[in-house]
């Protein structure tokens, strides 16, 4: 607020440019009030709320099962991840344990969601920097995952086939060869990205040293996910606080000490490989059995209890805080810890003194989804 006020009083040649809410590169309806001095950014004020749909309030009037499709509309680019966080939170509240097979299916779908989200992040980063072709390459490969989602849930983007206690139906037969083929082709795709994105000198110059975020600042602001790991802080909930069956898989957590846009890009590319590793292991050890645990038709919270469950979403720590009331089939109150919202808070700090074009780079590498930030 302060910056806005002082900027309006300025009599010098500084001026305010409203980047968004209708702007091609704000990744949705973000509104960045930017104070510019020529091409140099003096200050940025992030204004959110353009995609606010009061999802948290809706949760209070929907039963636990009815709310699942709404979660998919939070981070609409990561398919299964928000429903996964929510269903696991409800399971924690209701003391339900999902079946073995469904746990594996969830891991496979969650990691595919992460890959699709990261592919789109890399692609839109390239697009925001003007490399249209590189974006098309990423979107082309993401298309394969979208096709797999369609096979599984009938929906390409907003997949909500997760249920409390398992999943709604089994993976179809044609899913396995498609998944195997994607895992096999992924290294080749990444080589292509390296050729067209990583190896490009203009792009390197635009990413290296831009939007530097130190690990201390990142922690102070509560930044999580790939953005935190790119600042050199080694934290991944999948490994440090395993949920579901993540403790059964071998994978590495890529970190980079650079803290700049270049590091954030590289960490995401590296995470593609690690996600593929997890999927491969899960596919190999997929057990037979039921896909959903026996649950009562109407799920009711057993006692007055607050629970918090967090997962490593593609954007960072995605958490659901549910206040359950005894005997009720709806949450008394629900709060979403949205990583996109919290990650966006560092944007003004990162952009101060940078060039206007770096603002676009910084938003793209922070990778916010406004559906999640505004809720």
């Amino acid at each position: 607020m302060n910056a806005e006020k002082s900027a309006l009083q300025l009599q010098t040649d500084q001026y305010i440019v409203n980047v968004g809410p209708q702007h091609p590169s704000t990744h949705g309806g973000a509104h960045l009030q930017t104070v510019l001095d020529g091409e140099i950014i003096v200050d940025t004020v992030v204004k959110l709320g353009y995609v606010h749909r009061s999802v948290e309030k809706i949760a209070e009037s929907k039963t636990f099962t009815q709310f699942i499709p709404y979660t998919a509309r939070l981070d609409y680019l990561s398919g299964c991840l928000p429903p996964l966080a929510y269903t696991q939170a409800v399971e924690k509240l209701l003391n339900i344990s999902p079946t073995e097979r469904s746990e594996y299916i969830r891991v496979i779908m969650a990691e595919f969601s992460r890959i699709s989200s990261h592919l789109l992040c890399i692609g839109s980063l390239a697009l925001d920097l003007g490399a249209t072709t590189a974006c098309i390459y990423c979107v082309r490969d993401r298309e394969q995952i979208m096709d797999m989602f369609e096979m599984v849930g009938g929906q390409r983007l907003l997949l909500s086939f997760l249920r409390v206690g398992g999943v709604s139906h089994d993976l179809p037969e044609n899913f396995y060869p498609a998944a195997r083929r994607f895992i096999k082709e992924l290294p080749k795709m990444i080589d292509e990205y390296h050729a067209i994105i990583t190896g490009n000198e203009i792009l390197q110059k635009r990413l290296k040293g831009v939007g530097r975020l130190s690990a201390e600042d990142a922690l102070a602001y509560g930044v999580t996910g790939p953005n935190l790991r790119a600042s050199g802080f080694d934290y991944d909930i999948r490994r440090d606080d395993p949920y579901g069956i993540y403790d059964r898989f071998k994978f590495e957590v890529p970190i980079d000490s650079g803290g700049d846009a270049w590091a954030r890009y590289l960490v995401r590319v590296e995470e593609l490989i690690q996600s593929a590793r997890i999927i491969e292991q899960a596919l190999d050890s997929l057990p037979e059995g039921d896909i959903c645990a026996k649950t009562p038709r109407l799920l009711k919270a057993p006692e007055n209890q607050d629970i918090y469950h967090h997962i490593e979403s593609s954007k960072g720590e995605l958490g659901f805080y549910i206040v359950g009331a005894a005997g009720k089939d709806k949450p008394h109150r629900l709060h979403v810890r949205a990583p996109s919202f919290i990650n966006l808070q560092v944007l003004p700090m990162m952009c101060k003194g940078a060039k206007f074009q770096d603002l676009i780079t910084n938003i793209a590498t922070l990778d916010p989804v406004l559906g999640e930030a505004d809720r």
């Binding site: 702007h23 590169s25 091409e39 920097l129 003007g130 072709t133 098309i136 082309r140 490009n200 203009i202």
Partner: protein
């Protein structure tokens, strides 16, 4: 075959004079016909080029590009043109009306004027000025003013930012553009474009002036606001830069001018470095379009495979790399001429 067009022109003049017209008027009518031809070529070129660019982009991005209207979607551009012409012409309330309205007209006018000096064959230019190269370069730098007019007149911050970027960029790249061509002028000793092409009958300047070629090509890309240097438009940052407030046909005029410039600069490139009308088998007036389109395809290729450069990198690249290189080229050319003369004298 080489002289087809010259013969037609001579025939027209003779035909008019046989009616008793004095030579001056006959020549003037011929000039008007030539102007009309230039305009027709420009429009036709742009229609083909927009289609070609979309096809090339589709090829690079592994998609089909336009493929619905006519064979290979070749009529797509015509449909687009009709759409643009029938669109509402919005003039926002707060714009500086005269500047806003005249900017696209000046832009297209200047772009078409560039064609007058381009020699399409031996003795086949509309006006073969003895300072043709100077005329071309000075006129093409005038487009800067049109972009500035569009940006300033729109009374929009995005437009103004785009226009400021355009001015900074075009003025910066004007310097290496001209300096890189000085080597050729030193060798030929003439600014007349037909002289420069005639001097390449044995060796093209692409071989004699490789350094100048690189400098000129990069500077020309920046001058055209294309490829990695499309800063003034930069739709991901500035929505549409200087052209944000333009709609329908006015916007289309800028678009038209951009492609017209592209063809003119590529044709100049063909004349200066690729031997102009010289080539085996085919008639002269076919070689120029072939070479021009080859150069244009390289422009497409660069544009669709590279990201946009940052403004400050762009400026420092020109001042720290391109200008020293083009100055070096002048020095090397000077030494080359002296050594060549000395060897000849032996």
């Amino acid at each position: 075959m080489d002289l087809w067009f010259t013969n037609i022109a001579n025939y027209i003049v003779q035909f008019l004079m046989s009616w008793g017209l004095p030579y001056f008027w006959a020549d003037l009518i011929l000039l008007i016909i030539q102007w009309a031809c230039v305009l027709a070529i420009v429009v036709l070129d742009v229609i083909i080029l927009i289609w070609l660019e979309r096809k090339a982009a589709g090829f690079i991005q592994m998609r089909l590009g336009p493929n619905r209207l006519g064979p290979f979607g070749i009529f797509q551009t015509i449909a687009d043109a009709i759409k643009l012409m029938t669109k509402e012409d919005i003039i926002p309330n707060k714009v500086d009306k005269w500047i806003f309205l005249t900017a696209p007209l000046f832009m297209i006018f200047i772009s078409v004027m560039l064609y007058l000096v381009l020699p399409i064959g031996e003795d086949l230019a509309v006006v073969d000025l003895d300072v043709g190269l100077l005329y071309f370069l000075s006129l093409s730098s005038l487009t800067t003013i049109c972009v500035l007019m569009a940006g300033w007149g729109s009374n929009n911050k995005w437009s103004l930012m785009g226009a400021m970027r355009a001015v900074a960029q075009m003025i910066t790249y004007e310097v290496p553009l001209i300096l890189s061509l000085l080597g050729i002028v030193m060798i030929t000793g003439s600014l007349r474009l037909s002289d420069i092409v005639a001097a390449q009958s044995h060796v093209w300047f692409i071989i004699m002036q490789p350094l100048a070629l690189i400098c000129y090509f990069i500077a020309a890309t920046a001058e055209l606001n294309r490829g990695p240097f499309d800063m003034p438009e930069a739709e991901q940052e500035l929505t549409a830069g200087a052209y944000t407030e333009y709609t329908g046909m006015r916007w289309a005029l800028f678009f038209l001018a951009e492609y017209t410039n592209l063809v003119a600069v590529s044709a100049l490139f063909a004349c200066l470095f690729l031997g102009g009308w010289h080539g085996p088998f085919l008639p002269q007036w076919l070689w120029i379009p072939i070479k021009t389109y080859a150069v244009i395809c390289v422009f497409f290729w660069i544009k669709w495979t590279s990201p946009r450069i940052r403004m400050d990198h762009l400026m420092s690249f020109s001042w720290k790399v391109l200008i020293p290189l083009s100055l070096l080229n002048i020095v090397l050319t000077g030494f080359g001429i002296e050594i060549f003369a000395w060897v000849r004298g032996l």
